[in-house]
Point group: C2
Chain length 144, copies 2
DNA sequence: ATATATTAAGTGTATATACACATAATTTCA
DNA sequence: TGAAATTATGTGTATATACACTTAATATAT
């Protein structure tokens, strides 16, 4: 049944598969570095904390747009960050809206993981070499 | 507290964050197309079925290496494919080993989703334009 | 002013992911 | 040959992800 192999060979070139594969692999590498900090935090959680450090007073919906993360996914991720004490959440004047912001602990954890994140980032940059800029541009194209 | 924004601005350029973001976004797009097939299958499941169509008689551990997917993750993903009737699993002569292969239903579902996958793939390729080849190469670099 | 529509966020369910640990089969070696 | 080491896989737990549906608050329109 080698005709089967040929028949589906086109599907082996799937961009979605490749991107997911890379995402798994890179995430693990970043997480290994982050673990060295002694903090129980992962790359995804860092990315949300960093987003909150840059833009405050945004609703969950707005944040989810920024992160290209499904709103309900973000809701659950925020819950964990809250439980860990890295963010504080308050309701707005409009009682439907919720606003989260970095807590003191959240800032401290970012300070602590920064050098380890840098190692992961530099290691990854090295893999891409001079293609770095273009690669980042192309990733961006895929998030529109 | 705008010093905070500056302080953590370096972290906004995280490659792990960008790749995960793209992975989420592209996965959703592929899944929307796959949904049009009427089959209850997603891009990740397709990628495993396709892998099985290309390489049979591989253990779960070997497959997990191929897919750069944690072995225990793959175990659970295979369980769902089995439940859906798209793969068949047997033990090897070495009683520890398990081998999965595409079932008749599995092949049929690949046949059925193929045109929808193509639409998703072409749409994604279009976003990348002439950078496609290089982008694929760079993704590969990140899975080593 | 109140019924209706809209909007923001949460919940139920299912799958994806991975680490730490457990189990079972086989291999190795004394 | 039988104990110890190795190997292949599974399970417990926690987080990530997203779709369908729900709830609660606000805005709108008559």
């Amino acid at each position: 049944m080698d005709s089967q192999k040929k028949k589906y060979s086109e599907l082996t070139d799937c961009l979605c598969t490749s991107i997911r594969k890379s995402a798994r692999n890179i995430s693990q590498k970043y997480n290994e570095h982050l673990k060295q900090s002694g903090e129980k935090i992962n790359a995804n959680q860092v990315s949300i904390l960093v987003t909150l450090s840059q833009i405050e007073n945004k609703t969950i919906s707005e944040l989810s747009n920024q992160l290209k993360m499904e709103r309900t996914t973000l809701t659950r991720n925020l819950k964990i960050l809250d439980k860990s004490g890295w963010i504080k959440t308050n309701y707005g004047l409009d009682g439907r809206m919720k606003f989260s912001k970095l807590s003191k602990n959240g800032k401290q954890v970012l300070d602590k993981i920064l050098p380890h994140w840098k190692k992961a980032q530099n290691q990854t940059k090295k893999l891409l070499g001079e293609d770095l800029q273009l690669f980042q541009q192309n990733l961006k194209k895929l998030t529109l």
